[in-house]
Symmetry: C3
Subunit: 306 residues, 3 copies
């Protein structure tokens, strides 16, 4: 476990394909055989959620508690001394002296990296700014491994807000560790992936193409990764309605055009970007994906702390 022991988890690019596969092997073990005893008894995780989160926070908490560990922390900025004007760095220093590991979510890019510089104990980025959400990306790749055996050779679409959505960016960066046959980045022009993400993808040899219409490529896809288009990203309401409509994944479109073996992923929560009738079909893999968050994060905590 040397590759993870005591390590910070800030960006998916800090890890190698080998690291990830080692992590996924342990996640498989946790998933299939469970965890024996209380390996993290007496250890404390600090949750520093400066931005609200349900899924990421609760899955980290559940994983820690199943391992016999405990959590402290806060779930929104208002409830903290940050509201009294305390600096981010002082808040992190405090948490660092009260706990064994810090899980940070923050709206600003670079917050988790800064926390890791200040803290002596490991820091896990639970999403900061527009770009990094490494444990989500690990989960996404792990889900594909569980469903399809691996990422290599697959044709993968990433749909939605590729500019501001940190889950989408992290997923694209994670794909650069692998050799998918083809990656389609599907978004309206205003929400195309950021230049720094595309450059990284190009430099690392990812075979990607930017397209505007899902309908043009859906028949090729093995995996469709859907993300939400948030209203506030597109100021003009008419434009928003148009965009939203044309990026909605309907059951009709899937049944008419997609491969029978297509799997749809989504970091969740979803609002109406996927037709709810899809939820109960074999295409929907997002509930499985959410469920895999527990073994994946359990394995990660074991790797870092045990």
């Amino acid at each position: 476990m040397s590759g993870f022991k005591g390590r910070d988890v800030i960006s998916i690019l800090d890890f190698t394909r080998g690291d990830l596969e080692e992590l996924f092997d342990l996640a498989d073990e946790v998933r299939l055989k469970g965890v024996k005893g209380r390996p993290l008894e007496g250890r404390i995780m600090a949750l520093a959620f400066f931005e609200p989160s349900t899924r990421t926070r609760l899955s980290f908490e559940a994983a820690m508690k199943r391992l016999g560990g405990e959590t402290i922390g806060f779930t929104s900025e208002e409830a903290t001394s940050v509201a009294k004007g305390e600096s981010f760095v002082d808040t992190i220093r405090m948490l660092d002296s009260y706990s064994d590991i810090i899980v940070v979510r923050h709206r600003y890019d670079g917050a988790a990296r800064l926390a890791a510089e200040v803290a002596e104990n490991p820091v896990i980025n639970a999403g900061d700014g527009k770009q990094h959400h490494p444990t989500q990306a690990m989960l996404d790749i792990y889900t594909i491994r569980v469903l399809e055996g691996g990422v290599d050779g697959l044709t993968i679409g990433v749909l939605g807000d590729l500019k501001y959505g940190r889950a989408a960016s992290s997923f694209i960066l994670a794909l650069t560790h692998y050799k998918p046959k083809q990656v389609y980045l599907i978004s309206p022009p205003q929400l195309r992936a950021r230049r720094e993400v595309l450059e990284e993808a190009r430099n690392r040899g990812l075979n990607y193409r930017e397209v505007e219409n899902l309908e043009d490529v859906i028949h090729e896809l093995d995996i469709l990764y859907v993300t939400r288009i948030q209203k506030e990203r597109i100021p003009d309401p008419e434009e928003y309605e148009r965009v939203k409509g044309s990026y909605r994944v309907t059951l009709e479109m899937i049944e008419r055009k997609a491969k029978k073996s297509l799997k749809i992923l989504h970091p969740l929560p979803k609002v109406d970007e996927i037709d709810p009738r899809v939820d109960t079909t074999h295409y929907a893999a997002y509930y499985t994906q959410a469920k895999l968050g527990i073994p994946l994060r359990t394995a990660l905590l074991l790797k870092i702390l045990a």
Copy 2:
């Protein structure tokens, strides 16, 4: 324990008198002998409180933790991805995959039943809509059993907002499992018990009568169950003040008219519907009732999960 194992707790009517007595027997054991070891170690309870609650939530948490289990969850809707537009059903699905049991509170009737349909693990209704709060009703009946040996043969008054108050409705429904001598439903005309509750009571043979004045019946009562009349239920402020005044339980009225053995219950929190001077008299049973919430809910969790 077959009657409870893995079971949902949605309405008090889903249980038989036999189920309840079996539960109360275990609650007695927990209360008098304590719990040995950590029978729920490694198990996780998800608290899905879409509406705030202190007493119900904290007694569930304390019971779970005393049993060696753990909790995750949220205590208000704003703090969740529901605020981002996620559906109730998706939120429940997530919690279901992160935990072993879900405790739900929600302002809408039927929310707990819907959660139970979606979730694979057991769901406990911690109060939904205007009608159901089954663990409160269990606690109320259990309190009467502890104080009086049982409900059969007693004369019982239920006072206050019988229309919108879910604790009062659940208590009335719970009484239909027993044979009280007489039940008085005491409320202003605007806040009489709902038709569906009264029909259920009638069909199940409960000997009840609706009255408007506490003073007319207080001398007969063995148990007086008081609930709060909320300001927002009576739009006209003058009318509200009049109603509130005439449904206030004063020490004078009790000392002048009630049996010396009268016991007053209240689901709490109370505001000013009971004269605070009553708090320290032998009539006040509501603090005992609150305290019994721990053994009762401990027993319930053991029945369902152990």
Copy 3:
């Protein structure tokens, strides 16, 4: 441990110097050797934070959890039945019946004392009103013991809002248990220590002097205890800026005038009353002080509950 067992912690004046030294001896043991096993397994701490807090709350939580205990509670008034109009006393009664110890923070003077009168289990004051924050004062004195071997014979400055700041008042009261050579109370005229605090200090023989300028006395100090001056305390904005500026601790002033061995304490959170360049110098003892909150509160919980 007879002096603490089952005891309330309301004011630092309720304890003797002997009590404190006994507590600090155990804190040393916890700090240097750790805690064996889970001495508080099955015990529950109720957090009754009617006012928000991060540091005090999280250090109590972390201490309790490291000892194998558990916590329940609330972290702001809005989230509780107090918001529905429940009395403080009823809320405390409820928590008392659900837990083994209550930690209270409240904006009103006397709230913790009232809670202790109502509750059967021990109550710890985590700060109430303008005057009492006994566990902070214990921590402050303990920090000085760790850094300097003890308080006797030292020259100590207390800077900032001595009128409304409960940490400063409690620290001054705590000093009366010891024999510092000299205590300087340094504040603007509007924010001088309250008469009752000064009377107590005088009656208990504390050698103190009130001064207005830090610069006049800084060269004498072994310890400088800094507290925040809150904007709302000084209604006139110009006056506030002037006051704030002249009570700011700068690196220049320290390097020019202070003893090389000066240690600066602060209850934290700090905003801008200390130049951030001081943070990384050997003068800054406030992060050490924050860290010592864990062994100190761990020792206190052990003394009271074990």
